[in-house]
Amino acid sequence: MTGLARLIEALLFLAPEPVPVDELADALQASEEDVTEALGELRHGLGGRGVVLREVGEGFALASHPDAEEAARRLLARPRTPSLTPAQAETLSIVAYLQPVSRPEVARIRGVASESAAAALTDRGLIEESGRSQFGAVLYRTTPLFLKLFGLKSVDDLPDPSAWDPSPEDEAALRDRLLRAGEERAQNAG
């Protein structure tokens, strides 16, 4: 494979979208004729490989070989379950026990904005938006995938938090106590 074909392979490997010939030529500081010729060479060179060259719409792209689709589904199309960071665990527990719960409430209880934790949990399909509060704030709830990944039949099966409760004798509602504790942590200066 010539140097130009190799470089085109690298560029198409990296590009998330199909790349038109003129953009390839600009990036490679080569003529469009040379790029077109090198693309033919690349197509040929990829024979018998795991990726194929496709001409899509206005440009060229690499794609995985269709033979790999089944294995790809087994590898990639399954829930991602890396361990939860402390911030994610706190955010998820608030949503699980108080749902539906608004974004500002989560922030008040945790004492810090929790957007990135909530975004990661949403991205992994553990929580989802469930409308808006009367004040227009986003509300969160857990998903059916959440139940499955935690081995729960329903949210009623969540463990009783009193086992970890520092003052289980307090009879106020859980939501009020969490908000109060969050505010005390935020304000306490002596």
């Binding site: 490997f13 990296l14 590009a15 998330p16 794609a63 995985s64 689709e69 790809a72 589904r73 990639l76 199309a77 399954r78 829930p79 379950t81 939860l84 402390p86 665990a89 706190e90 998820l92 527990s93 608030i94 699980a96 026990y97 209880i109 945790r110 004492g111 810090v112 399909g125 059916p144 995938l145 499955k148 990944l149 935690f150 081995g151 729960l152 099966d157 969540l158 463990p159 009783d160 938090p161 086992a163 970890w164 409760d165 520092p166 003052s167 106590r177 969490l178 504790a181 969050g182 005390e184 942590r185 935020a186 304000q187 306490n188 200066a189 002596g190």
Partner: protein, 265 residues
Amino acid sequence: MASAVHRLELDLDVFAGPFDLLLSLILREDVDLLEVELADIVVSYLDHLEASELLDLESATEFLVLIAALLELKSRLMLPGEELPELDELAPAEAAEELIERMLQYARFRGAGGHIAARHDDEQGHLYRSAPLPETLRRAPLAAARQAYDPTVLGASLGGLLRTPPPIDLQHMAMPRVSLSDRLAVLRGLLRRGAFSFEDAVRDADRMTVAVTVFALLELYKRGEAEWQQDEPFGEITVRGEAPAPALRAVAAARRDSVSRTVQK
């Protein structure tokens, strides 16, 4: 105890807002005490005193106690774990060994840092693909999901959020063993012999004595018996007697603009 001290407005490099908010942020570790210039807080307080033209003894005492607590906390943070003795307490040979150990350790990581920085630049030649998955692979079928997490994690996290912090513990702060009148007497004794540096007045004294001496100086200043001057933060403080006018030189000197001003009483 919502006093003037708590409402003291600060404008520091790492924080702008009232003093009591800074305290609570430090306790929650949202602001790193190591990055707070305590000298700037003192300057702000002195500015505030000057502006209000009042020396409220109660709030001054409270300020001293709080700033001393912060100083102690900060010095602890900067020191290694409790197990390491102070260099001063070691015999010369031991102190040298300890210092050598620290310098060698630092040399090692400075070298490793150079290697890591070079590696960071070298490795930028390799680029990784970041493209969305094809549509068919994006959604995971719910049926394929299996239990991956332990629900007790959620209970434990929630329990942690129900905890409230203990109030600031000032128990370990020593109660004053030195009285204001003692320190006033010492300072007046020194003044009779002319100007002196604050260092001389508190040589070998413990922290509480230093704090009370500062307080005694404030008192002398207020009565027009003394005048003090410091050319820069952490610089030497010179104390002179019988100020011609009660000019608040010490306060002014601590200000960044170092313009002295006269305060009417």
